[in-house]
């Protein structure tokens, strides 16, 4: 192989950025649709905005096979333990998008029975405002999340066993 060929065929990078590149372009969403945001998420999946362009088309309804939890809709008092269980069932690494006003803050449902923002109980990476958000807004949130994933370090997840 000529030296010029090697130059144009080999790319040097860090393992971290190579892995992050793979992760950010293959986010498998787990839609937790409880309200109208869930319907809007179908619009995000459909042909016009088509999040397959960002590698997030593989919607899994099993938390064990997905790494992006999209909380779409209001979460009631009775539903929150279910959401916590689903979040805990997802394998690491995992990210959460809080889609819409209700999931982020409780929205107009300022009552005893609606959780005033899921971030009180599970960590949220990206908040998408709107009631419901436009599909473009969700795509914007997805791109923001990809930037976040790109900046992640292995040390965020590693642990040292003291024994």
């Amino acid at each position: 192989m000529k030296q010029d060929d090697i130059k144009s065929n080999i790319l040097t990078t860090t393992l971290e950025s190579a892995v992050n590149w793979g992760r950010k372009h293959s986010l498998w969403p787990m839609p937790f649709g409880t309200a109208c945001c869930g319907i809007e998420f179908m619009g995000v999946m459909a042909a016009r905005t088509d999040i397959a362009r960002f590698g997030a088309e593989a919607v899994r309804f099993s938390p064990r096979q997905s790494d992006l939890l999209i909380v779409a809709g209001r979460i009631s008092l009775k539903m929150m333990p279910v959401l916590i269980r689903i979040y805990e069932q997802m394998p690491e690494p995992k990210w959460v998008i809080s889609m819409g006003a209700c999931a982020s803050t409780g929205g107009v449902f300022d009552t005893y029975s609606v959780i005033q923002g899921v971030d009180k109980f599970i960590p949220v990476d990206v908040y998408v405002p709107g009631c419901p958000p436009r599909p473009e807004g969700v795509v914007e949130g997805l791109i923001l999340l990809q930037e976040l994933v790109d900046k992640e370090k292995f040390s965020d997840y590693s642990t040292t066993l003291k024994k």
Binding site: K78, I84, E88, D110, T111, S113, K120, P123, Y157, T159
Partner: protein, 171 residues
């Protein structure tokens, strides 16, 4: 007209149990004491009002009424298409009423809903548990003295933190 006959029968059988009769939007409302409600409802059922269209409750804390709570039965006659509203008044210190489930099966879930949201218990109900709120819920949300944002029921859930719990490994 079925109603005047029934009212006469009630007054004949259970004297002084009718507190008041009013009319709203062309519909008669019979206000009664809760003591012999089951017998009175049976009288309604056997004299034409065969269908329990709806059942609900009202908290009269700010409205004013004969008692704190009133349980409302909306009855319908399929034969004559007449409607009547029966309001049974329940005191605050002992919110208890005999169950109408033996007369109309539909009262089963309606009474569970009233129990859940108002805390009125129905004696003789086959399965009186909460229908919408979690079983370990504290409070009855549709009572007027219940705070809008609840009694901090949401604070008990576990808070999940990001990533692997490092303290778990370091211990």
């Amino acid at each position: 007209m079925l109603l005047p006959k029934i009212i006469a029968k009630i007054e004949n059988k259970f004297s002084n149990s009718i507190l008041d009769t009013t009319k709203f939007a062309g519909e008669d409302i019979i206000h009664i004491k809760s003591s012999s409600i089951l017998e009175i409802l049976k009288l309604f059922k056997n004299n034409g009002f065969n269908f329990l269209a709806d059942m609900t409750a009202i908290d009269n804390l700010t409205l004013g009424g004969f008692e704190r709570f009133s349980v409302v039965y909306h009855l319908l006659s399929h034969e004559t298409a007449e409607r009547v509203t029966v309001k049974a008044y329940v005191p605050e210190d002992e919110p208890e009423l005999p169950s109408a489930e033996s007369l109309w099966k539909t009262a089963d879930w309606q009474e569970r809903e009233i129990y859940d949201l108002f805390g009125i218990s129905f004696t003789g109900h086959p399965n009186l548990i909460r229908i919408m709120n979690p079983d370990d819920y504290n409070g009855h949300p549709l009572r007027k003295d219940y705070p809008r944002l609840g009694n901090r029921e949401r604070d008990n859930f576990p808070k999940v933190t990001r990533g692997i719990n490092k303290d778990y490994f370091n211990e």
